[in-house]
């Protein structure tokens, strides 16, 4: 169901972990839905110097996190906010329809981290921004 590009990235995901001295952190998703994505950033002069992720989730969630963090390193905060889930999918050369929400999660994690950076003026990253996402299992269950 996954293409070769996704499987390749899944074998060797980039930017796994937490940025040392990060000054932005965003966490989205929840365990009941089966995916949580946490992105940490080091932002200096409004430029993203480093980005890393920790993800609980399927292969699509892990590969989306990998490409999303790679895409924003070196970008300004404003440029990073323009990265959408479609860009993530393009970078992965496609995702199965039922996995599209994983790319949405990556977009939201970036936004959450940047909101956190702005809320704390880059001083500290203690005020973690967490966002609940709409997940398929919640909709189906009720």
């Amino acid at each position: 169901m996954y293409n070769e590009k996704v499987m390749e990235i899944f074998k060797n995901p980039q930017n796994v972990g937490e940025v040392e001295n990060y000054n932005a952190i965003g966490t989205v998703g929840n365990a009941t839905c089966g995916d949580i994505m946490q992105i940490t950033l080091r932002i200096e002069n409004d430029v993203i110097k480093d980005a890393k992720f920790k993800t609980f989730g399927c292969a699509a969630a892990i590969t989306s996190s990998s490409v999303a963090t790679s895409m924003i390193i070196g970008k300004t905060v404003d440029e990073a906010l323009k990265v959408t889930n479609k860009d993530v999918i393009t970078e992965l050369e496609g995702l199965p329809p039922q996995k599209i929400h994983c790319s949405v999660l990556a977009e939201e994690a970036i936004r959450a981290a940047i909101e956190n950076y702005r809320a704390t003026s880059g001083e500290s990253a203690e005020a973690t921004v967490s966002r609940e996402c709409e997940c398929a299992c919640k909709k189906q269950d009720k």
Binding site: Y2, V16, T55, F56, A136, C137
Partner: protein
């Protein structure tokens, strides 16, 4: 009849060239002579023949050598062997006119061997052989099994040499009918039924649909209430849903935390207007074996029929429908080393569920459709083999499973082992906390290990398994559940390899998981 050493070394040489195919440089003669284990002089004789057959090409001069003219997936093993053996005619009369051909009874045998030998060799490419070098450990026997070699050999004649329609009156038809009769007896004997109680179908799903819809429709004057369990296979659950749409009422019995449907729960749910109780023999995810005789007894005490989806159990658990009070039982051949697309419904004589498939008069006018003779023959052979050796097979398979479970529990922390002790011999089911099942599955898959998250029918969906939730695994953990199902071709070495890879996989994914980090941080703080 022996292949020459030329053919054997020639194939090895071609494999060496195939491995080198993506490298943009020809392979030197000394290199692949050594790989094949023969002298250069001998290899040169082989190469001449391979060049003549347009399989290999040479490059002269310094840095020269040999390469394959086509890509490895386009070169059939048959081409190579025929080139080196000067054809594979095993007797002189093949492909040459023979005056005695019409009277010669033996010629038919030689021709058949010749044809099949070529079919086998032409069905394998060099690329297939290279791929086979990868190690595979198949631990998904609850999804399906490979057809047993003896079973396959028994089926093959009924595809083309004995193609008769079992409903035809002529000799070929009678030949097929006789084979079906033998298989029907093999299936009946395996579950303690009579031959006229076995109805062949396309498999487990059809059998479940027929049993449940058929009873509901035929006996609706008695009542419109049915009882099943909450963790049935979708073939049962979705059939029940369908009947709810027709105005039937269905009660779904809850499982206990070990994965068993308790008879007292059925006792509470059953009513005077209950027409059918359907509870699976063994659960398809956690492998727990249900108290079938007790459940059947309660159903009968209240005048209801008892059906069991025994797709996971047949061939793995001794079943006697008469002793255990089973009125209807569904099974599917591919779960016990038989072919896919064939199954049966046992219906106790005297019970008449409405027909599901209208048409011809096959299966004593109860199930239409041209008799699947090769499938039925295969199912008969497979069930006989599985039930004859059931104790020995189970002892072996459970020894592998038990070792696996013991090792996993010892080496991997933060796990749950799901389901009670009374379960299928090959089934092990774990929940690995802080990580997600699909990524576990794909990481294992990279190491050639085939397992399953949830049941095969639901993998690819985003929901956590209903069965895993039903036995009380918290929703936030349920996503990390994996089923391993061992079978008779697995070895203790497979167990060791899988435990090693599983330990690595869980560590790797936990190192990426924010949940694991959070849980560990909490522990350190305390």
């Amino acid at each position: 009849m022996k292949l020459s050493s030329k053919a054997r070394y020639g194939l090895k040489a071609c494999l060496a060239l195939a491995e080198n195919h993506n490298v943009n440089k020809p392979l030197a003669l000394p290199v692949f002579s050594e790989k094949a284990g023969v002298t250069e002089a001998y290899m040169e004789q082989i190469i001449i023949l391979l060049k003549k057959a347009d399989i290999v090409e040479s490059v002269r001069g310094a840095g020269g050598g040999y390469y394959l003219k086509k890509s490895p997936d386009e070169i059939k093993v048959g081409e190579i062997i025929r080139a080196l053996e000067d054809g594979l005619e095993i007797v002189d009369c093949i492909n040459t006119p023979c005056e005695a051909a019409d009277e010669c009874k033996a010629r038919k045998v030689w021709n058949r061997i010749y044809k099949n030998m070529n079919l086998v060799l032409d069905g394998i490419t060099l690329a297939d052989l290279l791929r086979d070098q990868k190690r595979y450990v198949y631990l998904d026997h609850s999804a399906t099994t490979a057809v047993d070699d003896e079973v396959l050999a028994g089926m093959l004649p009924y595809f083309s040499e004995k193609p008769g329609n079992a409903s035809s009156q002529h000799g070929m038809g009678r030949e097929a009918e006789a084979a079906v009769d033998i298989a029907r007896k093999q299936v009946a004997d395996a579950i303690g039924a009579k031959t006229n109680e076995i109805y062949f179908t396309s498999g487990g799903s059809e059998s479940d649909n027929w049993a449940i819809k058929g009873i509901a429709h035929s006996y609706k004057s008695k009542g419109k209430h049915l009882i099943t369990s909450e963790f049935e296979h979708p073939a049962v659950l979705n059939t029940m849903k369908y009947l709810e749409g027709e105005g039937y009422e269905v009660t779904y019995l809850k499982t206990d935390k070990e994965g068993y449907i308790r008879p007292e729960e059925l006792e509470k749910a059953i009513r005077d207007d209950t027409v059918l109780v359907s509870v699976m023999y063994a659960n398809n995810e956690i492998g727990t074996i249900q108290p079938i005789p007790e459940l059947a007894k309660i159903a009968h005490e209240h005048g209801a029929f008892f059906h069991t989806d025994a797709v996971q159990a047949v061939g793995n658990v001794p079943i006697d429908v008469k002793e255990q009070g089973i009125d209807m039982l569904s099974m599917s051949a591919h779960k016990f080393y038989g072919p896919k697309g064939i199954g049966c419904l046992y219906i106790k004589s005297g019970i008449r569920p409405e027909r599901l498939i209208a048409g011809g008069e096959q299966e004593r006018n109860q199930r239409a459709g041209t008799t699947n003779t090769p499938g039925i023959v295969g199912m008969g052979l497979a069930i006989e083999k599985a039930t004859e050796n059931i104790d020995a097979n189970n002892a072996y398979i459970s020894s592998l499973r038990d070792e696996f479970v013991k090792e996993v529990k010892e080496r991997i922390p933060d796990i749950r082992y799901n389901g009670g002790e009374k379960r299928l011999a090959g089934n092990a089911h774990f929940t690995f906390k802080y990580i997600e099942g699909e990524s576990i599955l794909f990481t294992l898959d990279l190491a050639g290990i085939c397992a399953s998250s949830g049941s095969a029918c639901s993998s690819g969906s985003l929901e956590a398994s209903k069965t895993v939730l039903a036995i009380g695994v918290p929703p936030e953990e349920a996503h990390g559940s994996i089923r391993f199902t061992f079978g008779r071709e697995n070895t203790m070495d497979d167990v060791k390899y899988t435990v090693d890879k599983l330990e690595e996989t869980v560590k790797r994914l936990r190192s990426m998981s924010p949940l694991f980090a959070a849980a560990k941080a909490k522990i350190t703080m305390i």
